[in-house]
Symmetry: D2
Subunit: 353 residues, 4 copies
């Protein structure tokens, strides 16, 4: 099988580095162009990047010349991944879509656009069809697909079995988020050593609307009618390198659900990607753990190559119906890895060609 | 003024050390007897203790001989503080009360007893009167007063202004608790370095009933009718040395309270201890902070000698009414310091003589 | 190729778990018996172990029944790895050797025995021949091979290129050691959060003699004449999960060596295991890094599956000759992984059959 | 006694904040002018500063208006403390000295100047006399006094008893430095969480010459002849908030010194500031501790208000003569607190008037 040529926008940033790492040995995709800011363009990737991953720069990527983030400079790619900062992502991503190049982005800029999918493939795979209503490019070849915020991914994945079985009435989520979520240099060590920061600018707003779109209903006109459950979010930064841990409390639409029924809902839930054989698709996207000490960010966020969301301590909560703990790898499942899985689904659906 | 002679039960443990530190220069109390286990009894305090405080062992305490935790061995004390483990506290504390020696304890054993005050002096000072219904000792000289769990203290103190102004319908609290709460050796470093532990054995149960007693109503017969609001608790351990941080969401009894009114409730709230001039009483027991980045455990848990509870990010929460962050120093305000303040109130009320 | 049947002594401990992880998919070895204390014997491994690794318990191991650590209970193994505590390792390991079962151990008990190899395969591979002079078992089938302390491994590996080229006159090593080196529960979090512990009981003594044996000369009688360079060691515990970082200062036997020559010594050094195709043998056992910010424990200790030692900041030091920083994965290269490589060498040499 | 009017240059930075904290209740000095960059000038201190201290901004300082860092804007001060960045300190400090205003600075710019004291008052108090040879101002009223780098202070203080008793031949120091030494935002949390950074730009150079000047001999012409011992420095950043921990190995000029004699040297050493009653002068500037687990940054760096240097594990070292561990509070003793003590000595000597 011939590999698709993938470009990476923002290749020297923290998310871009994760794309490089995840794509280095990808069976379907090859990194054919690395785009970054003017400061980096023209240098080799090795020279341009302040590499912060715990593995070496893949040898065949290290020597590639970094290019400008423009469709012209990166001509020849079949599609691009974007790890761009929101400040610059809007124009650049649009220029690629307009040039007929699909954009699979982790940036937040287009997440609210009516015809742009906010995709978590195991939760709302049908939303990929929204792209047919986008009109960046006359023949529809260029489009934009987004993945949600790093908390929204484990939140929606962990709610999905309950939502399918019983419906969600409302949810409270308190997130304890890893420092890697803020990129590099990101959080100053004086702010977080032996400390918790009770505020992450702009984060709670995202957590309070994105799940409604992800778990919303696709309409015939390519728009999505948002889900109608209530959400409260309080977001904290904790001294953890990788893995966002969520304390979740849900009220179900169905009344009187027992603890055993809730556990069954997780065990019986079927992964809609099963059988598609997407390379990055975890066998168990949502794993229910029995040990009350689990999941823990350091031990479990890397499970199934960082693509599995772990759920633990699922129990009755007096006020609401159920409480549980959920964990997702923020820079893989919640960012670059989620985008790679999105691209794999697009390929499988014949939307990237 | 002649100082009261205070004994310390469990003087070599983590809570006991904090008592030693807080009482070293106390204007009303002097440390006249140090009680610990058989292993320590007979040694000097300096030899017996694995001192973990960041100040030196007070010179006049270091040389004292550690005694058995019995009324006989510690004869001559006017009252005792107890920092004993729950496993042994029951019998020992009872033996002191029965011997006519008041016990001001941080241990949890007697917290549920109908006539034992579970005291947070700024929240339920009237509950001290419960001791008159205790019958450990024929003439009522010996009694037991408890302080609640280290999360319950900042939780009830931070809810009190809202409770007084609007009533509490229900509350959700997610606690991010410091490692010092587990004592020494306590939490293994492999469990908590770059990690969060999603479970603290027995903790959530305490957080879900203690506030109901603390905020309950004193009856004429010396019992307390618990408050009736709903509570959900999820407790996490985070890599922080001192300071339990709480994410709190409350539903008020009164409907339609505005953000400004909620803020006013904090600003207008009167400290019932004001004017009593208790040495450990903070000027502002509950401080509302405006900076959204505050409070933080490392920066703010030591305010007012660790006796102030800080509240921040008080804001409307869609589902409930209000969300806020609260912080309390777990080993001072939430443990030894709270007990010292209890004792000061007992002295002021003429109950320790 | 038929796999060798390996037993693991102390299989539920921290080192034992690492053996389980490293051997789960080993091409030459299969885990055929798990030995632990009486408390665990008879349970399934899943029940007996408090699993602290960041990957799942290998499925085919989880269900195995844990046995007593005796040659009878573990009959059928071709050899055993030992991750036993020193307190019990002496008798148990001897019983296996005496029973004709080779023991490849991480425990320190027999390291000083005159005919027991203290093996770092890239440094002193010839020392394996010492086993022929052991007399645990009449026909020599049972023997004991040890690997050194977790600091000694990166220290000797990083000195080896310099030793080979110029000779070592003396060395000062200050080690900043990860918490995982103390096992589980190990270091209390209150001792190490935002802190450094300046003392590790018994550690410096090991660091000051083991390198002399490892880098010593094998005699015809199967003893080793220790190397004669001077060593000073100061050992510190730092809040790092994995990876011991060493600050090393060496005085060479040869005078006037230039910085360029020292760098060349590393680049020109030949791995004596090259060509043997041992499964756990890293391509580059000692990697010299140019970036002055490298190596770092979190980023680099896992390189080459944790088997590579990284060296950085190799530079002239006024007083001595050269200073450099060395890093080794303490629980892999410095413990279980080192032992696995030892066993692989023994197989290759025909000593485990 | 009338207080001296002190200005603070760089008052909003990390060192400046420490000056504000230390001077808030100083018995001899009052903060009469706060200088900062153009961006801050004109604002109240409360508005201008991102306050990172664990106590509140002193009430009487919070409302002061921040000024430009010029002698004109800050007219009326008796002298200034400088916490300026080296990048701007040179010109600004010179402008004050030239205007006849003494400058007591923590910045490194003038440390190498032949007539500028590099002062650690307990080590080289006589060096204050160097200022008489400075010629910033015609009548000598304006001058500059510097304190050394945050490692040099505990290093020289801890060597002083040995130097006085036996002479120093050479010293190796490996420093494990706290994150607060890099200011704010300073070290990115991704660089230091569960990690050690093996390189601090420019640090080792300072550590390798500053002690030679501090421990040098004052000449009649106001210059200093540097001490002639050899120094090697390797500097590491560790995840510790406050307190630089040093692993020190020294070779003495006198041969054959016993461990007991070395201990006696510490115990017999006389603090040259004793009797001067300087407010910030610790009773024991250098404290020798017996417990091998001491000193530790978190427990001991705050001793004597952060002005005491702790020494532990003083022991024979084979290669050299002695090894020990030293600890100093980097932002107090090693920075702002050291400068305050310098100013107190200058006042006592009648040099600030």
């Amino acid at each position: 099988m011939k590999k698709f040529k993938a470009g990476i926008l923002g290749a020297t940033g923290a998310v871009g580095q994760k794309f490089v790492r995840l794509l280095a040995d990808h069976p379907w995709f090859e990194i054919s162009a690395l785009g970054a800011s003017e400061r980096s363009a023209g240098k080799s990737y090795r020279e341009a990047v302040n590499w912060i991953e715990a593995v070496e720069i893949p040898a065949h990527v290290a020597g590639q010349t970094v290019k400008d983030c423009s469709p012209e400079a990166m001509a020849g790619v079949d599609f691009v991944f974007s790890g761009l900062d929101a400040a610059v992502a809007g124009d650049i991503e649009k220029s690629f879509a307009t040039a007929g190049i699909p954009v699979v982005t982790n940036a937040r800029v287009y997440r609210r656009e009516p015809h742009v999918p906010l995709l978590v493939p195991e939760v709302n795979p049908d939303h990929v069809m929204q792209i047919h209503k986008q009109n960046f490019h006359p023949d529809g070849k260029g489009f934009i697909v987004t993945n949600p915020n790093c908390v929204c991914v484990p939140l929606t994945l962990s709610m999905k079995p309950l939502a399918d079985a019983f419906g969600i009435e409302s949810v409270v989520v308190v997130s304890m988020q890893a420092i890697s979520g803020a990129g590099y240099p990101g959080v100053p060590s004086l702010d977080i050593t032996s400390n918790v920061m009770p505020y992450i600018s702009g984060e709670e707003e995202k957590i309070m609307w994105e799940p409604l779109k992800v778990m919303g209903m696709l309409n015939d006109d390519g728009t999505v009618t948002n889900a109608d459950f209530g959400i409260h979010s309080s977001a904290f930064r904790v001294p953890v390198v990788e893995g966002h841990l969520l304390s979740v409390i849900v009220k179900l639409k169905k009344q009187g659900v027992s603890e055993e029924e809730a556990h069954q809902a997780f065990r019986n839930w079927k992964n809609p990607l099963a059988g598609l054989e997407l390379p990055s698709s975890p066998v168990e996207p949502v794993k229910l753990m029995d040990d009350p000490r689990y999941p823990q960010p350091r031990l479990h966020s890397g499970r199934e190559n960082g693509m599995q969301v772990s759920v633990g301590r699922l129990r009755k909560a007096g006020l609401f119906d159920f409480a549980y703990t959920a964990l997702g790898h923020n820079t893989i499942r919640g960012a670059a890895g989620g985008a790679v899985l999105n691209a794999e689904l697009l390929v499988k659906k014949g939307l990237i060609t």
